[in-house]
Amino acid sequence: MTPFLEVEDLAVEIRRHKTAFRAVDGVSFRVERGGALAIVGESGSGKSLTLRAIMGLLPPSGRVVAGRVLLDGVELPAATRGRGRGHRQRERMSIIFQDALSALNPVATVGHQIAEAPRHVLGLSRAGARRRALELLRQVAIPDPQRRYGAYPHELSGGTRQRVMIAIALSSDPSILLCDEPTTALDVTIQTQILALLADLRRERGLSVVFVTHDLGVVGQVAEQLGVMYTGRLVETGPAADVLAAPRHPYTAGLLAAALDVDTPEHQPVAIPGSLPDPLRLPSGCTFHPRCSFATAECVTTEVHLEPVGPGRQSACLHSAALAAVQAGLGRG
């Protein structure tokens, strides 16, 4: 199967004051048509910037300095505005954000915001766009769509606002949905509703999804594939269930050991030693080496890259075999 979204060696540079650093560096991944990839990382890992770079929505301080993004085989331009083939292609992507309140226009009704793309991108008539907006409100399971059409974002609850943002994202009839922590600000009971909605939409529309989150606990529910980011690089990729069950990068293992699960309260969480490095002074070699218990002299001097470590799996660790052995030992013990 040919990949639908293909990101190759993407690098994003952020300028801050008079300095610049690579906040995303050498990120490559593929998403199949209808497939879903979760990207997990902590704050500052570059996961959101990766998503914004794909969408062409980098902040003014950021720019793509290397790599390319292909959608259905067509390369997307780095800039957001324009009329070429790539720009039309980008209209097949939509993005939803964590904070719906600040992503929505506070002075336009939600109906107006949902109808905008059908009217201007899909070229529907005013009445047609309205019908489509109402239909979308129904699809995202907002009760009483006729009444909600005229509501302003501040009049809605957090969960409903997130549904509105999803409706807006769907309004241009995208083939791929980029999700930037869409459920992080929501209560868990609402989170399950939104995740179920996204799953339904994926199934019904054959949507591809890239889902960025800091929460390992939702990964398995939203995506079959997982990528773990640290200091702007992908350090591990593979089928989500396999990666979570037996990580092949010490950072992934560390995240899992630090996390709590409601079913295992006796598990004593273990923090990853040290803290995130300053992006202006990243450690040499493997950037995780100062915090890693597997680190050797080689890790300080050798540039690491994702290497195959199993069926469909890759890890950017020189000692992934040693990690696997330790885990196998734990399993027997």
Binding site: A245, A253, H267
Partner: protein, 360 residues
């Protein structure tokens, strides 16, 4: 303080009564159009000395309002807060205020960005005359040590620290006045997973080493289940279930507690969690009749819309309470099995604990 409370409170000492008691606490706020919002409604609980009570609930359930009442920051409309058997009024003595300290979710906005850590701490020590002037610097260093920061952190400004370090500073500030009770309001919710663990460990340490009593407020069930001995679950201003953590999480009797448990993110869950509650919480100014949870509840029957269930004992003995007309029923086994089966198996078969860190 490392010495003082430790000598005053050997952890196993049989306390004559609860250290902290909240009785029938209600808080109402005036909102627009002359309406009243009942943020907290007849909340009662006790916290024994040295105990960690977890207060769980989603946004808007009133957990923070309860915390602020206990700390004396807002006045309840009805009900009392007692400390060591004495009722605490709204005008509290300096000592009573010192005894109960709060730690907030966002340490950045609760610390003065222009004041060095030393300045923050020494000011407290001097104003409250906690140590002689000559001992202030030593005490500051002790506090840093207590929260696991190096002494040179005293020279830093809050902006120079990471989120986890800032939370340690906020905890050091709370500890500086030698409190007996710490009310921690979502203290790890803004932190990355990798640092969350160290702050939780710090709270555990403070409980065991200093004999501190902790009210730990969180929306995160995993965190509360890990840290607390007793748990209270809140929904729309009321406690809907309360008891020790094994009973509440192991045998939840309120459908809302069950819904929260089902919705909690799980590390090895590969199937989608089934949305266990319908809709969204109603507006707190227009509460539903009867049980406030009934419009979203799967178990609801006629009586639920008519009659407010009281928080009553689930069984004949024990202090497991639930505010549900059907509290005598255990979780429906068939349903629990159908979507729990998948994720409980790995634990029961003793799969590897999946963490390289423990093996290191």
């Amino acid at each position: 303080m490392a010495e003082a409370p430790a000598s005053a409170s050997p952890p196993a000492a049989a306390a004559p009564g609860p250290l902290l008691e909240v009785e029938d606490l209600s808080v109402s706020f005036h909102v627009e159009h002359g309406r009243m919002l009942r943020a907290v409604d007849e909340v009662s609980f006790k916290v024994e000395k040295g105990e960690v009570l977890g207060l769980v609930g989603e946004s808007g359930c009133g957990k923070t309002t309860v915390a602020r009442c206990i700390a004396g920051q807002i006045a309840p409309s009805a009900g009392t807060v007692s400390f060591e058997g004495r009722e605490l009024g709204q005008r509290r003595s300096t000592e009573d205020r010192r005894a109960i300290q709060m730690v907030f979710q966002d340490p950045y906005s609760s610390l003065n960005p222009r004041m060095s850590v030393r300045h923050v701490l020494s000011e407290l020590l001097v104003v409250h005359k906690l140590v002689p002037a000559a001992r202030v610097e030593d005490r500051c260093r002790e506090l840093m040590d207590l929260v696991g920061l190096p002494p040179d952190a005293l020279d830093g400004l809050p902006g120079q620290f990471s989120g986890g370090q800032r939370q340690r500073i906020a905890i050091a500030r709370a500890l500086a006045v030698e409190p007996r009770v710490i009310i921690a309001d979502e203290p790890v919710s803004a932190l990355d997973v990798s640092v969350q663990a160290t702050i939780l460990r710090l709270f555990e340490d403070l409980g065991s080493r200093l004999g501190l009593t902790i009210v730990f407020i969180s929306h995160n069930l995993a965190v509360v289940r890990h840290l607390s001995r007793r748990v209270a679950v809140m929904y729309l201003g009321r406690i809907v279930e309360q008891g020790d953590r094994e009973s509440v999480f192991g045998d939840p009797r309120h459908p809302y507690t069950r819904a929260l448990l089902e919705a909690a993110p799980r590390l090895h869950q590969t199937e989608l969690a089934r949305p266990a509650v319908k809709g969204e919480p109603p507006s707190p100014v227009e509460l539903p009749s009867g049980c406030p949870f009934h419009p979203r509840c799967e178990r609801a029957e006629k009586i639920c819309a008519a009659e407010l269930p009281l928080l009553l004992a689930v069984g004949a003995v024990g202090d497991h309470l639930a505010a549900c007309h059907f509290r005598a029923e255990a979780a429906p086994a068939a349903r629990a099995g159908s979507h729990r089966g998948g994720r409980e198996d790995p634990e029961k078969t003793g799969e590897p604990p999946l963490n390289g860190a423990e093996a290191r």
